[in-house]
C-alpha cells in the first residue's frame, strides 16, 4: 500500500481557526480528483476548525508580520493562510 498526500489551503477572515473561510484550494495527490481554479463557489468547510473536526491536520499557518513603516495602508495578498493535509493509503 502506498501513501499519498492531499493538501487543503484555507484563507480565513481573521487569524484564528474559528474564523470563516474566504478562499480555498485543494490539491489531491491520490489523483482521484483534479481540482482547479474556479471549480467551486462554496467553501469546503465554514471555518478552519471544521476542517480539523473532519480529520485534516494543520501543518503551516501564516505569521503576523507588522506592517512596514510607511506602507501601513498598502493591501495585497490574502493574509490568514492555513495549510492542512490528509494522508491516504491505497494502490495508486
Amino acid at each position: 500500500m502506498a501513501k499519498r498526500q492531499k493538501v487543503l489551503a484555507l484563507y480565513l477572515k481573521f487569524p484564528s481557526l474559528e474564523a470563516e473561510v474566504i478562499s480555498w484550494a485543494t490539491f489531491d495527490g491520490t489523483g482521484k480528483k483534479l481540482h482547479m481554479t474556479g471549480d467551486s463557489d462554496e467553501p469546503p468547510y465554514p471555518t478552519g476548525l471544521d476542517a480539523l473536526l473532519d480529520g485534516w491536520r494543520l501543518f503551516q499557518s501564516s505569521q503576523a508580520i507588522p506592517e512596514y513603516p510607511g506602507q501601513e495602508f498598502r493591501t495585497s495578498y490574502l493574509k490568514h493562510e492555513f495549510f492542512f493535509e490528509k494522508l491516504e493509503e491505497g494502490d495508486f
Partner: protein, 306 residues
C-alpha cells in the same frame, strides 16, 4: 455623442473595479465582428493552433504598436471601430481614461471546448487567478475593455473575476494559489456585452465545457491626462457631509457613500478596513476633493496634533 458615466457608475467602478453593459452592441455589429474573424461552429475546426493562425492572417484586426492613440487605431467602419465608438463605450472610456487614451495592447482570447484538449492529449484546466501585466503601484490606472461577441453561458466558463480586488497590489500570477475566492463571479452574458475592468482587478478564464468556442476581445487603454472629474466636466460633484457611525438610523437612504463603502465577501475582517480607506483615497483622486472622506476613515487618522 459620447454618453459619460454617472457619478453612481463611477462610484461603483471605484469600489468594485468593474462595470458591465449587457447586450450593448447590436446584432449586426456582432455578426460583422464574427464574420470578420471567420467564426464557425467548433465541429468544423481542426485544431486550436490553425484556427488562431487563420484569424490572425485574415481578420481586419490591425497590428497596433503599443502606445498608439486609440483615435486612429482601428480601420474606419471596421467592427471594432464601431464598437469603441458606440456612445456608451466611448463615454465610459472618456469618463475613465479621458479623451485621448492610448492603446497598451489588444488580444482576442479564444477558449476551446473539451474535444480539442482530448484530441491534443492536453489537460483542460482553467486559468489561474491573476492581475494583468506586473506589479503596478501607480495611482494612475488603466482600463481593459472586454467585448463578448457571442452569448456566454455558464458552461462556457466566462471570465472569472473578483469585485473589489483592484486596489490590492500583487504580482501577476502570485495569486494563482487562491483556487476559489468567496463571492467570485463568472461572466454569463448575452451577445454584445461590454465589460470594463480596472487594470488591477483579479481575474482568470474559466474552462469551456460547452460544444462551442468562446470569444473575448480585449483592449487595454492608458490615459494621457489626469483622471480627475473626467465624467463630470462641469464639476458638479460635491462630497456628502459626515454621517453618524454605528449608532445610525435604520431607514437611511442609499447614497454614493454606500456604493463606495460596499464590503465584499472575500475581504478579511481587518484588511477590509484598509480596502475601504484605499477606496476613499481613490475617490479623492477621481474627484479632486483631496480632503473628502467617507465614514471618517481617513479624517480619524489624519487628526494629528503632535
Amino acid at each position: 455623442m459620447a454618453k459619460l458615466l454617472t457619478t453612481e457608475q463611477m462610484a461603483e467602478f471605484a469600489s468594485s473595479g468593474c462595470l458591465f453593459f449587457e447586450e450593448l452592441i447590436d446584432k449586426e455589429t456582432n455578426k460583422e465582428f464574427l464574420d470578420d474573424i471567420g467564426h464557425t461552429s467548433a465541429d468544423k475546426v481542426d485544431s486550436m493552433e490553425t484556427y488562431n493562425k487563420n484569424i490572425k492572417a485574415t481578420s481586419s484586426i490591425p497590428r497596433i504598436k503599443a502606445g498608439s492613440p486609440l483615435k486612429n487605431a482601428y480601420p474606419v467602419n471596421s467592427p471594432l471601430e464601431k464598437i469603441l465608438k458606440n456612445e456608451v463605450v466611448a463615454g465610459a472610456i472618456q469618463s475613465l481614461v479621458g479623451s485621448n487614451p492610448i492603446v497598451d495592447h489588444q488580444a482576442l482570447h479564444l477558449t476551446f471546448p473539451t474535444k480539442f484538449f482530448k484530441g491534443a492529449n492536453k489537460r483542460q484546466m482553467s486559468q489561474g487567478n491573476h492581475q494583468d501585466s506586473t506589479i503596478d503601484p501607480r495611482s494612475t490606472f488603466d482600463i481593459q475593455v472586454f467585448y463578448f461577441p457571442t452569448e456566454v453561458t455558464k458552461e462556457m466558463g466566462g471570465t472569472r473575476y473578483h469585485p473589489g480586488t483592484h486596489l490590492r497590489i500583487v504580482n501577476e500570477f502570485a495569486i494563482a494559489k487562491y483556487q476559489n475566492i468567496l463571492g467570485q463571479k463568472s461572466i454569463v452574458c448575452k451577445p454584445g456585452t461590454i465589460g470594463i475592468f480596472h487594470n488591477g482587478l483579479w481575474h482568470g478564464a474559466g474552462v469551456n465545457f460547452s460544444d462551442e468556442i468562446r470569444y473575448m476581445f480585449k483592449v487595454r487603454l492608458q490615459p494621457t491626462e489626469k483622471q480627475e472629474l473626467l465624467w463630470d466636466p462641469e464639476k458638479k460633484y460635491k462630497p456628502l457631509p459626515n454621517r453618524a457611525l454605528y449608532w445610525t438610523d435604520e431607514n437611511k437612504e442609499e447614497t454614493i457613500n454606500d456604493i463606495l463603502m460596499q464590503s465584499y465577501p472575500w475581504q478579511e475582517a481587518d484588511t477590509n478596513r484598509l480596502d475601504k480607506i484605499n477606496v476613499v483615497k481613490f475617490w479623492r483622486l477621481l474627484t479632486g476633493h483631496k480632503k473628502m472622506d467617507v465614514d471618517y476613515w481617513l479624517t480619524r487618522i489624519e487628526n494629528k496634533l503632535y
